[in-house]
């Protein structure tokens, strides 16, 4: 596979796309929080992979870490990467219209909501931590794979992930404290907690105060 890709075999490139399109796409969706932008990122990643295919090395068992490394670079500088492939991107087929089945629409909205929340939280991290987190936790890369993708030692991946965890935990606690002060859903607390006047009253009180 590696050799055929380096040699410029379009068949090998097709296999590369078939096997890794989803992992690249999903990583891009999570980091950008935008399915449309993620498609552009995915297209640029594969165009870029083709352009620099001679640099693919045999070190990993699959081209996945290499491809994710390209993805990370494209995400770091989307504008520059898009400029390089502007001509090709102009030829990209238009996005499919959103299906209007109610279920699917609700699913999409829920996805969007979740994506936004995840992206907001991720943005609290430093870039290096964010990248390691997205690769190891969400995309499921092993430490050595993430290390190869990012071009850093395995130890760095480990320590960044550990820092990311510490920071996220601190953020989570801060968030909890904040929520304790300001109830998130005062209206429902008042209107629905019929069997528990005390809770409702307290919620109401806190909301007012």
């Amino acid at each position: 596979m590696h050799e055929r890709i380096r040699a410029g075999d379009p068949g090998a490139f097709r296999e590369l796309f078939q096997q890794h399109a989803q992992v690249v796409y999903r990583h891009a969706v999570r980091v950008t929080g935008d399915p449309g932008a993620a498609e552009d990122v995915m297209a640029v990643v594969f165009l870029e992979a083709w352009r620099i295919r001679a640099k693919l090395r045999d070190e990993a068992a699959t081209p996945r870490p290499w491809l994710m490394g390209i993805t990370v670079n494209v995400l770091r500088n989307r504008a520059r990467a898009a400029r390089r492939h502007a001509e090709a991107l102009a030829r990209m087929p238009a996005a499919e219209p959103v299906a209007d089945f109610a279920d699917e629409l609700v699913g999409r909205l829920a996805d969007q909501e979740q994506l936004r929340a995840a992206k907001a939280a991720l943005e609290q991290l430093r870039r290096g931590e964010r990248e390691v987190f997205a690769l190891c936790v969400w995309a499921g890369l092993s430490y050595p794979e993430a290390a190869e993708a990012l071009g850093v030692p395995v130890g760095t991946v480990r320590s960044r992930l550990s820092r990311a965890r510490t920071r996220l935990r601190a953020l989570a606690e801060k968030e909890l404290t904040r929520r304790r002060r300001i109830p998130r859903e005062p209206l429902r607390a008042v209107g629905q907690q019929l069997g528990s006047r005390a809770v409702a009253a307290r919620a109401d009180q806190e909301w007012i105060g």
């Binding site: 380096r6 410029g8 078939q18 399109a21 995915m42 083709w50 087929p93 499919e96 190891c136 936790v137």
Partner: protein, 352 residues
């Protein structure tokens, strides 16, 4: 496709995953993925030498050989039959495609390989050379059909599609690889300018060819040395490189003879009694099956005049969801000539 998350996820990751909302992993729809696949394949096989990396020439060749397919007499009949069964010609965003033809895989043999290659070589050496003067262009006209897709939208079962056989015209400058490519459904109607540099093993210029030795053994050694580390293995790479040298060029007769004799020396090369090019012309083939992919690359020659006709790639053993007998690529060189200007068809007179 989810990332292969290990079931023994290290605790850090497991805990971290709980600290952040599990990023919902919206997948790309299969229809969209398929469309993007076609789009990207069309982008990378687009001839854009100005943005191509150093090893770009390999791309042209793989397009035709490692992947290459078509509508031979047999194949054409098969195409029609399969198309009728599946309901199926499709007009894609990037040209028409048809289900890949499936043919009976003819066995190969070595008993008559040497004597047949000798006849092919003698015929090549006796043919008149095309020798464009500086400022003139080589014109090569062919019919081609290459692998288009193996993705099936509805089922997990895969299906192989190829481009509908179409015309491909190439003009190459006498002194290099600059010129023009016009390919139905692949380039703009007025064509794509080629800026190909000095030529290389997988995309030779006439100057490059004229610098090669005409002793088969010496030539073969140079081919192995020049393609080391490429492709799926040295023998297969040497064999497909010979196809690359011949396909879209005007190889001098003496060199052509040496190339065929060299091909016969590559381990695993066989003679196939029945093959057909993309124009439907039947012939015999010097062929080699790539042991890693199960694809047989065939150089096809006329059975009586021994002239080179074209190439075909046939899946000999099922692999990667492609059924045995599937013709994944096919081409036929239908005309080679010298013309006075780029874009000019043979017989036309250059305007002054």
């Amino acid at each position: 496709m989810t990332g292969p998350v290990s079931s023994h996820q290290p605790p850090i990751e497991a805990e971290s995953a709980q600290l952040l909302p599990p990023a919902g992993a919206p997948a790309l729809s299969s229809a969209r993925q398929h469309l993007m696949e076609e789009y990207l394949m069309s982008e990378i096989t687009r001839t854009t030498p100005e943005t191509a990396p150093r090893s770009a020439p390999a791309r042209r060749r793989r397009l035709l050989i490692a992947v290459p397919a078509g509508a031979a007499a047999l194949a054409l009949a098969a195409t029609v039959a399969v198309a009728a069964l599946t309901g199926a010609e499709q007009t894609g965003t990037f040209g028409d495609r048809i289900p890949a033809p499936v043919v009976q895989v003819a066995g190969g043999q070595t008993a008559q390989l040497a004597s047949t290659v000798e006849r092919i070589s003698l015929a090549a050496a006796a043919a008149p050379d095309l020798d464009p003067k500086p400022g003139q262009y080589l014109y090569i006209e062919s019919t081609v059909s290459n692998l288009s897709s193996t993705v099936d939208l509805e089922k997990s079962s895969s299906k192989t599609w190829v481009d509908k056989p179409h015309t491909r015209l190439v003009w190459l400058a006498a002194d290099g690889r600059d010129g023009r490519l016009v390919e139905d459904g692949k380039t703009p109607a007025e064509g794509q300018e080629l800026k190909g540099g000095e030529g290389a093993w997988s995309a030779p210029s006439l100057v490059f060819l004229k610098g090669l030795p005409t002793d088969p053994q010496e030539l073969l050694q140079q081919i192995y040395a020049g393609t080391a580390g490429q492709g799926t293995g040295p023998d297969q790479e040497a064999f497909v490189t010979i196809g690359d040298l011949i396909r879209e060029q005007a190889v001098p007769g003496k060199l052509a003879a040496a190339l065929y004799r060299a091909a016969a020396k590559i381990p695993g090369v066989v003679l196939v009694d029945s093959a057909a090019d993309a124009a439907g012309r039947p012939g015999i083939a010097i062929a080699r099956t790539d042991p890693t992919t199960g694809t047989r690359s065939e150089l096809i020659f006329d059975g009586s005049s021994y002239a080179f006709l074209g190439e075909r790639s046939v899946q000999v053993t099922e692999g990667k969801g492609v059924k045995a007998g599937t013709v994944t690529a096919n081409n036929a060189v239908t005309r080679r000539a010298v013309v006075d200007a780029v874009g000019l068809r043979p017989g036309a007179v250059a305007r002054t």
